[in-house]
């Protein structure tokens, strides 16, 4: 009889402990979401332990992908060879034209000072070694950390445009929040000189591949196809990085503002290599303007 009572008491304690844990974790979600609970040391420790394995598996994945692509290429090589031979002649002619364009392009680049614009950033190349399984959050893990000079809030880009920013720099890996994440907000401008309308690009849970540019006044002249660049407001993202272009414009529910659906220039589904902006400086004046002033 006493055994039964002892067992019941023990079971009651277990249930109480279980309920306590469940309630604590439930509350923790809301504390963490409002930034009142953080576990940076645990974050870094887990990242440090997992990163070598993630690096290795990611490397194996890359190699497997390379092998399957190669095998697939070999299977189609005969057919491709015939097509390619006919294209060679055509391409030779085009190549001459392309060389002309290249030379022209180089001249234009020098003229517009594109090169000088590029040197305002110190870039640290990084490889994507992990990403979340679902679309609740848009987060990636890259193989660069504080040991490589990476710190929180550094902007991450590719040659195509803005990717996101570092939210948690570990020792040799960093967690990057993509601009597709619903919690991300990027201060942006319409690049068109006649417009220059400012807005905020934020992730859209309902369309995880296309963020939205919000807070656009209803009477502004934003049009479909407008290119969006970072405004530099807020201090995280340097000014002038391409984000994407407006694909569609919709009215906000309130009726006072409108928002644009943004087609990003970066293909986030095929994100493999990125660069982290470790330092950005004020861009030197463009050579064209200098020449005009003289």
């Amino acid at each position: 009889m006493s055994d039964k009572i002892r067992r019941e008491k023990k079971s009651g304690k277990k249930i109480a402990a279980l309920i306590f844990v469940f309630v604590s974790v439930f509350c923790l979600v809301f504390f963490a979401a409002r930034g009142r609970f953080q576990a940076p040391i645990a974050n870094k420790t887990v990242a440090l332990i997992l990163s070598p394995f993630q690096n290795s598996i990611s490397w194996i994945g890359d190699k497997l992908s390379f092998i399957t692509t190669t095998v697939s290429d070999i299977m189609h090589v005969h057919e491709q060879n015939k097509i390619l031979l006919s294209e060679v002649e055509e391409l030779r002619a085009k190549n001459i034209a392309a060389n002309e364009f290249e030379a022209e392009n180089q001249r234009l680049r020098a003229l517009l000072g594109y090169k000088q614009v590029a040197v305002q950033f110190d870039l640290e190349p990084a490889r994507v070694i992990g990403r979340d399984a679902a679309t609740w959050s848009s987060m990636i893990i890259v193989n660069r950390g504080t040991a490589d000079g990476i710190a929180n809030d550094m902007a991450v880009v590719t040659e195509m445009g803005l990717v996101g920013h570092v939210i948690d720099a570990g020792i040799n890996t960093s967690k990057v929040q993509l601009i597709l994440d619903p919690r991300s907000s990027v201060g942006t401008l319409i690049q068109r000189p006649e417009s220059r309308v400012a807005g905020i690009v934020e992730g859209d849970l309902n369309n995880p591949t296309m963020p939205r540019m919000v807070n656009i006044p209803k009477n502004s002249d934003v049009i479909v196809g407008d290119v969006i660049v970072t405004s530099g407001f807020g201090g995280v993202y340097p000014k002038g990085i391409v984000v994407g272009k407006i694909k569609d414009i919709q009215n906000e529910e309130s009726g006072l503002l409108k928002y644009g659906v943004v087609e990003t220039t970066v293909n986030f589904q095929k994100l493999e290599d990125v660069a982290i902006i470790t330092q950005s400086r004020e861009a030197p004046p463009a050579p064209l303007e200098q020449n005009n002033q003289q």
């Binding site: 979401a33 609970f37 394995f53 979340d132 609740w136 849970l205 309902n206």
Partner: protein, 162 residues
């Protein structure tokens, strides 16, 4: 101690696979959630005590690395570990049909719990769009991987059972 090490290595291995390799085969950003399958399988085979414990450990790992809101995955995995573990005494451990088909139910549970958390945190979600482009791919992936993962957990459990 040995048995804990075995489960820890298995969990870490599957997690690394889930975050590094399997996203290569993702559809619209959705890929398989091996941690969910692992928690459910262990709960079915070892009961609700283990289910809750593994759910907690796996949830912490997920939330610390790639989770959206700290605690969400811990809560959901623990709940699933507890609920599935309660069935542990009523199923034949050698029968794989229930655990494999239950992956559909547990994934739906995971999806709706996560949606509920997002709503409670004031994130708006178009449910129709999300059901089509998130839940359906999730169910397909989970169902595809449910048998191999359960088989793996079953074999490990059989081999290292005290």
């Amino acid at each position: 101690m040995k048995i804990f090490s075995v489960w820890a290595i298995l969990t870490l291995g599957l997690y690394v696979l889930q975050t590094s390799f399997l996203p290569m085969f993702s559809y619209n950003g959705v890929s398989v959630n091996l941690m969910l399958l692992l928690t459910v399988s262990i709960a079915f085979l070892k009961g609700h005590h283990w289910g809750v414990f593994v759910g907690f450990a796996v949830g912490v790992l997920h939330d610390l690395t790639t989770g959206a809101f700290f605690g969400c995955n811990i809560f959901i995995y623990m709940s699933l570990g507890f609920l599935c573990g309660k069935f542990s005494d009523h199923i034949f451990k050698e029968q794989f049909i229930l655990p494999v088909f239950s992956s559909l139910l547990t994934t739906t549970f995971y999806y709706f719990m996560m949606t509920a958390f997002l709503h409670m945190l004031d994130y708006k979600l178009n449910l129709q769009w999300s059901l089509q482009y998130t839940l359906i791919p999730m169910l397909c992936y989970q169902f595809l991987f449910a048998y191999p993962i359960h088989k793996l957990v079953f074999e490990v459990n059989k081999r290292f059972k005290k």
